[in-house]
Amino acid sequence: MVLARSEVARTRRPVPVRGTAVRLGLMAVPLAFFALFFAYPVVAIVGRGLKDGGQWQFGRFGAVLGDPDIAHVLWFTVWQAAASTALTLLIALPGAYVFARFAFPGKQLLRAVVAVPFVLPTVVVGSAFLALVGRGGLLDELWGLRLDTSVWAILLAHVFFNYAVVVRTVGGLWSQLDPRQEEAARMLGAGRFEAWRRVTLPALGPAVAAAALMVFLFTFTSFGAVQILGGPTFATLEVEIYRQTAEFLDLPTAAVLTLVQFAAVLGVLALHALTVRRRESALRLVPAAQTAHRPRGRGQWALLWGTLGVITVLLIVPLAVLVERSFDGPDGYGAGFYTSLRSAASADSTFAVAPLDALWNSLAYGVAATAIALVVGGLAAAALTLPRLRAGASGRTACVSRLVRGFDALLMLPLGVSAVTVGFGFLISLDTPPLDLRASWWLVPLAQALVGVPFVVRTMLPVLRAVDGRLREAAAVLGASPWRVWREVDLPMVRRALLIAAGFAFAVSLGEFGATVFIARPDQPTLPVAVARLLGRAGELNYGQAMALSTILMVVCAAALLILERLRPLDHSGEF
């Protein structure tokens, strides 16, 4: 028997005012964080563009949006994002099922590997992807199939980048859904599809919506993939904002476009909030290990092999191309580029970075950013999952719940704002004591955490919301403090989600490039920044070293994700 949350809430008896205070208390840190490191810088840079002599110039909207070129960019942005999201869901949802329900050797490794594209610099991945679908690429040699500078290359690359988002967000919850509910429905006479549609699908709904939303946001604001694979004829809003800001310093146009992107992202988020609220329900969660089994029957084996095939062609081959190139030296295969990395770094130059140094920088930034993202995102998710306030009881609670919904959307906004806007915003707003961060070490992890927080929140919310409210109540009735309720009831159930969230946040900061390269910093290049520097130079040696560094980044990322997979609580680890 599954109770809708609203029914649970009705039986609760805490004083609403106290609930409000707790909620506001939890929201204080995330709010302060976002106000200081996101809203303030972005408002500053947008204001610089839209204000002229202290007067707001809203007339600029008409001029910019009336430009047919901009209108075309807008149309293409929406269109390709919708198509990419649909394609990604189509290809990745079966994958999410396979990872959630089937036990097979190498599953953990594979789960780590599919997340790797997510962290690699787009320049690197773009060129690897061209080796697959471009001219002279693998598909070209095999079947004469070329997809470069076509929309198909962009769409496929988006699937490649976002496959893990779906597998991890949806699969994470799916693996913890009790399969007996579906079995019970079948026993009651429902067909296989009927049982899935009426039992599993509604339970997965919020997670699927969350994943779709993330993929839409990423593809809507796509930058590198569109630039490299689409050629100069395709541009997204994000590319246009970058050009107007970084190339032309046309802040008015950039400000208008930033606000348009803002509005679009808010629209998507509102839509998402609607679907989630309708679908939300308390679920019975069980340890993932109990739900996974070896595939049974021809259909399940076919699904497993099909998924593995898709992963191999779409994800592993481009990655393998990178590894292959990193060993393909002038004198045949060998570790020449790796050893030359070491000697180049010890040589007399500040340009070449010792791979270990860059790795260490990346890890240090990543750990700091993950910690910040977990604290901020965790508190935010906790605030958002407190029992819903009764609407209409008083004007005040209605106002608070509106505030909470607004807060929910606010947390996602950093994903919809371009790195160049945030970077320039940092520069002009965080430049006076006590917040003079322009050259501070913390600037990089703070900027990376901005992108990490939405992942933490989105990964944790579906699971937190699915925790049966009656457990919390029972604990409260037995005299546990809210903190103890959270520790004893929520934490054990969300530990896995927390680890997945941490993995995402860490991976995002390992691979983060846009903000990191942009923020002037002490000379501590991360791996992606070092790769980009090498790629910006001619010569086989520089290129080979870039590939070697990318391979190192890839291995580190996969290892980090693998370790996080292993860190699951003991009683859940008997998967094999």
Binding site: A21, V22, G25, L26, A28, A32, L36, V123, S127, G134, R135, G136, Q227, I228, G231, P232, T233, R243, T245, A246, E247, F248, L249, D250, D328, P330, D348, S349, T350, F351, L379, V420, F424, L427, T432, P434, D436, L437, R438, A439, S440, W442, S481, P482, W483, V517, F518, A520, R521, D523, A532, R533, G536, R537, A538, G539, E540, L541, N542, Y543
Partner: protein, 358 residues
């Protein structure tokens, strides 16, 4: 609830404390600290450790290097932080961006020592010395020697050659809106064919099958058949790149080949001059001046070629063998006055886009 608010307060205090701490770290280069001089530059800035150490020992200042993305972004950052700059000296504003920086007034005048060794042609701010020329490089069409030897064709030499039918479909260039070599190539055609003739030239170039990609990396690494990185997968034997790309192709090759695998079409070059300047509002002005003198001095100038693959501005700086043996000296590169570039840049790029991309 009291526990929760205590945790909240602690966490909040931690965040605030952390940012204050960071602020202190950031202010480390502040007014009180005159021992450090901060250099703001683009991502390609590079200096030998020993050369840097020599400056630090002689002057008593420690150098701190802040790199902020590509040249355009770095300049724009400096413009946005005008009056309250991130550092003391800026390195790497080139002639395509120079007049924007000068117009915004981000530099304080200072005449660096040793300027008399820099040719007059490079000194674009001679009267006021707000910026000092520090290096130059040329952007030219590079060709794949192997391809043209196999096809028994002579490689092109000039912009006009590129229109010939035998070079049809062979050239890949970069989008001027997103790539500085792409912009330089376009400026080269404007310098050659004039503000009224360049569009006609590009119409013919388009008809002759020029291909455009967004960034230098794709053009050079993925499409150019002459780059070793492409492993013979590239299908374009002509690419817009740097005059110093051929020496870079030789780098790390053992044994060293007789000539570079790629060459430069000497009549297609546009000269980029990079300047450095003292930032207005610098916290360590004295250190900044010392650093600028050093950057214009022989020791740094001789370090420049192998570190940044450009030529030193000083005529008395020795250029390494890699450059003299495999590089090409460009006798008469094209160029345009910085004011003309800044005035027309955006409009030219827009015109180019609607002409070539649509």
């Amino acid at each position: 609830m009291s526990t929760i608010s205590r945790i909240t307060v602690t966490a909040l205090a931690a965040v605030v404390g952390m940012s204050t701490l960071a602020a202190c770290g950031g202010a480390g280069g502040g007014a009180a600290d005159t021992k450090t001089v901060t250099l703001v530059s683009h991502d390609s800035f590079n200096i030998s450790k020993s050369v840097q150490a020599a400056f630090e020992k002689e002057s008593g200042y420690k150098i701190r290097i802040l790199r902020g993305g590509d040249a355009g972004k770095a300049v724009n950052q400096a413009i946005l932080s005008k009056g309250n700059p991130q550092g003391d000296v800026f390195f790497g504003i080139d002639n395509t961006l120079l007049s924007r920086g000068l117009h915004e007034g981000i530099f304080s005048p200072y005449r660096a020592k040793g300027l008399d060794k820099v040719p007059a042609a490079l000194q674009l701010d001679k009267g006021e010395h707000r910026v000092t020329p520090l290096d130059y490089g040329d952007i030219c069409v590079n060709y794949d020697r192997g391809y043209f030897a196999r096809h028994r064709t002579a490689p092109p030499k000039s912009f006009a050659d590129l229109l010939e039918p035998r070079y049809k479909g062979l050239l890949v260039t970069e989008n001027p809106a997103t790539s500085s070599p792409g912009l330089a190539f376009q400026l080269g055609t404007i310098a050659t064919y004039g503000e009224h003739g360049w569009q006609g030239y590009w119409k013919k170039l388009k008809a002759n099958g020029v291909e455009v990609v967004d960034g230098w990396e794709q053009a050079y690494n993925d499409r150019f058949s002459g780059s070793a990185a492409g492993k013979d997968k590239g299908d374009k034997p002509l690419v817009v790149s740097y005059a110093s790309s051929p020496p870079a192709e030789v780098l790390g090759k053992k044994p060293a080949p007789k000539e570079a695998p790629t060459g430069v079409a000497t009549g297609t070059c546009f000269r980029q001059i990079e300047f450095g300047g003292l930032l207005k509002g610098a916290r360590n002005e004295k250190g900044g001046k010392a650093l600028l003198d050093f950057l214009a001095g022989r020791r740094f100038q001789e370090d420049v070629p192998l570190r940044m693959f450009v030529n030193p501005a000083r005529t008395d700086a020795k250029v390494p063998e890699l450059f003299t043996k495999y590089g090409t000296t460009i006798g008469r590169p094209t160029t345009l006055p910085p004011e003309t570039i800044t005035k027309n840049r955006e409009q030219w790029i827009k015109q180019w886009s609607s002409l070539v991309l649509k």
